[in-house]
Every structure is written in structure tokens, then in C-alpha cells.
């Protein structure tokens, strides 16, 4: 499958994502520079990696949403292409309106870097369909703004439509309803704060993150 990893100025997990996709999972993987008006028609899936795009100035993800490449990403997502936003990538998906809600500072006001346990709340998503509902996955988080916020009406919609894909077993950041990852209505766009790419090899202490990438690859293959 052909994967694109978007690189914004300040992305710092781009190489980790590239490494996992290319060298661990043997996918045809390409970096996509944010300034390029990319032609994404022959790509199967995109990753918006973690980092501090544009220095996190104004709000996390606020400036990145207007990068030239984002127009192509939005069009790709609207056509049903798989888009995975990790950490800062999730924040960019929120700011660009591809996912609902917004991020606030962690309730502790501290940058949190630790391993967390996630519960898979919906295993029908392309990124989780090889997991079981209720299964627990271990992955690291590393963020200052992971305190997910959405108004009560929006939260009800997320719940009713099965858009809450991951919850924290123990809430680290004050996130509403323990939300760690959500999808759009169609399910093809997923954002999560934890880093699956940092938990995809046994030497790193957990391989649970691989499950997301493997699920996506499997679902792309079965849709061919």
C-alpha cells in the first residue's frame, strides 16, 4: 500500500512513522512536504505525525491547517481516503475541521510523557478492526495539549455514532469522557493523542501500536 507522511515545519515524529511503515511493515512510504500542492490520487493512506508544527504558535495545529498540503489532505479525506493524525497530527485534524472538538491544555498544566493504557471502544474502524472491542493497548503519550473538549451535543453525537475509538483507562490529562482518540462520521479519519509509531517494535517495550497500522493495511487490502 502507498502511504504518505506529511512533514510540517516542526514535525518531529515524521521519521518514526516513516520507519514503522517502511521498514517494519514494508509499505511503499513517502514523505510529503507541507508546501507541496500534493497529488494524492494514488495514495492509499496518509499520516499526520506528531511534533510542534509551526512552533505550536497561537494554538496547536492552528497554523498548520492552512499549509498548502492541507487542501489536498481535506480533499483526500472527503473522498474516503484513510487519514491518521497522531498527537500534533490529531490537533491539526481538529483545527482543520476534519474532526470535531478542540484541544485544551492538560488539566495539570504539565507536559506529560508516559506510557498509558488505552481501551478500544470501537473495533469496526479501519484502524482498529483487528482489535477486539474492550481490548487494552499500551502506548506512550507525550503532549501538553491533550485535554479534549467538545460541547455536550457534540459528545452525544460522538457516542451515538461510535466515533469514540479509544478511551484512556486512567485519564492522564483531563480529557472529556476519557477520550484518547476519535474518528469522523465515516470512520476514515482517525485522530489520537497516544503514539502508535512509538510502540511498534518489541525493543521499544510495546508492539500494540502496530495493530493500528496493520488494521489499516488489512482493510485497504480487503477493499482492493
Amino acid at each position: 500500500m502507498k502511504w504518505g507522511v506529511i512533514v510540517f515545519p516542526g514535525s518531529n515524529c515524521d521519521h518514526d512513522c516513516y520507519h514503522v511503515l517502511k521498514h517494519v511493515l514494508h509499505q511503499d512510504t513517502h514523505f510529503l512536504w507541507h508546501k507541496d500542492d500534493a497529488h494524492l490520487d494514488d495514495f492509499d493512506a496518509l499520516v499526520l505525525p506528531g511534533g510542534f508544527s509551526y512552533g505550536d504558535y497561537l494554538r496547536t495545529g492552528a497554523i498548520a491547517q492552512f499549509s498548502p498540503v492541507m487542501k489536498s489532505v481535506v480533499a483526500f479525506a472527503k473522498k474516503g481516503g484513510l487519514v491518521l493524525g497522531i498527537c500534533n497530527g490529531f490537533q491539526i485534524l481538529l483545527e482543520s475541521g476534519l474532526l470535531p472538538g478542540a484541544m485544551l491544555r492538560n488539566a495539570s498544566l504539565k507536559f506529560i510523557c508516559e506510557s498509558v493504557t488505552l481501551r478500544v471502544e470501537n473495533s469496526k474502524n479501519p484502524f482498529t478492526h483487528q482489535c477486539q472491542k474492550g481490548e487494552e493497548l499500551s502506548m506512550p503519550i507525550a503532549h501538553m495539549e491533550g485535554n479534549y473538549f467538545i460541547d455536550p451535543e457534540g459528545l452525544k453525537k460522538l457516542k451515538d455514532q461510535g466515533q469514540i475509538i479509544f478511551r484512556y483507562v486512567k485519564n492522564p490529562n483531563g480529557s472529556q469522557d476519557d477520550i484518547a482518540g476519535i474518528s469522523n462520521e465515516k470512520g476514515n479519519v482517525l485522530g489520537l493523542m497516544p503514539h502508535p509509531e512509538r510502540a511498534s517494535e518489541s525493543i521499544l517495550g510495546s508492539q500494540d501500536g502496530r495493530r493500528l497500522f496493520e488494521s489499516a493495511i488489512h482493510s485497504l487490502e480487503s477493499n482492493r
Binding site: 494554538r59 492552528a62 497554523i63 492552512f66 485544551l104 488539566a107 498544566l109 485535554n147 473538549f149 467538545i150
Partner: protein, 80 residues
């Protein structure tokens, strides 16, 4: 022409930063402080040649598109 833009968290959105500042104010003796909300102040300079009404419209769009995230924030501005 300078526009002073104020971006504040909406009511009902928790502000841990404000709470921490409030606690600190209490600890240095300002016990009467019942709440603190921390926001942003942004100065936007525009050419004087722009009509006020036009500037008003432009500022509105700047706030909606970028300066504020209207899911969690309110904005206001005045032009001087």
C-alpha cells in the same frame, strides 16, 4: 491603524491556567479573587488607508478563521 483583539475561553470551558493563577493570587493575599480566566491579547496593524468598516469586516474574518478557535474561544476587538 491598530486592532486590539481579545481572545478568551468560553464560559463552561475549564481554564486550568486561570485556576492556577487564582490560587497563586490567594496565596499572596488577594483572597477576594473569586475567579481568573486567562486569555490572549493580539495586536494587528493595518494600513491607515483601509476604511474602518472594511477593517471591521476583515478583523471578523481573521478571528473566525485563525485568531480564535470558536469551539472553545470567544473573541472581541476594537480598532484604534
Amino acid at each position: 491603524m491598530i486592532a486590539r483583539v481579545y481572545v478568551t475561553l468560553k464560559e463552561g470551558v475549564l481554564d486550568p491556567q486561570g485556576k492556577t493563577v487564582q490560587k497563586s493570587l490567594h496565596s499572596i493575599g488577594f483572597k477576594e479573587v473569586s475567579d481568573v480566566r486567562v486569555g490572549k491579547y493580539i495586536e494587528v496593524t493595518l494600513p491607515d488607508s483601509i476604511e474602518r468598516a472594511e477593517a471591521q469586516k476583515k478583523l471578523e474574518r481573521m478571528c473566525e478563521q485563525l485568531l480564535a478557535n470558536t469551539i472553545i474561544e470567544n473573541y472581541s476587538f476594537n480598532i484604534i
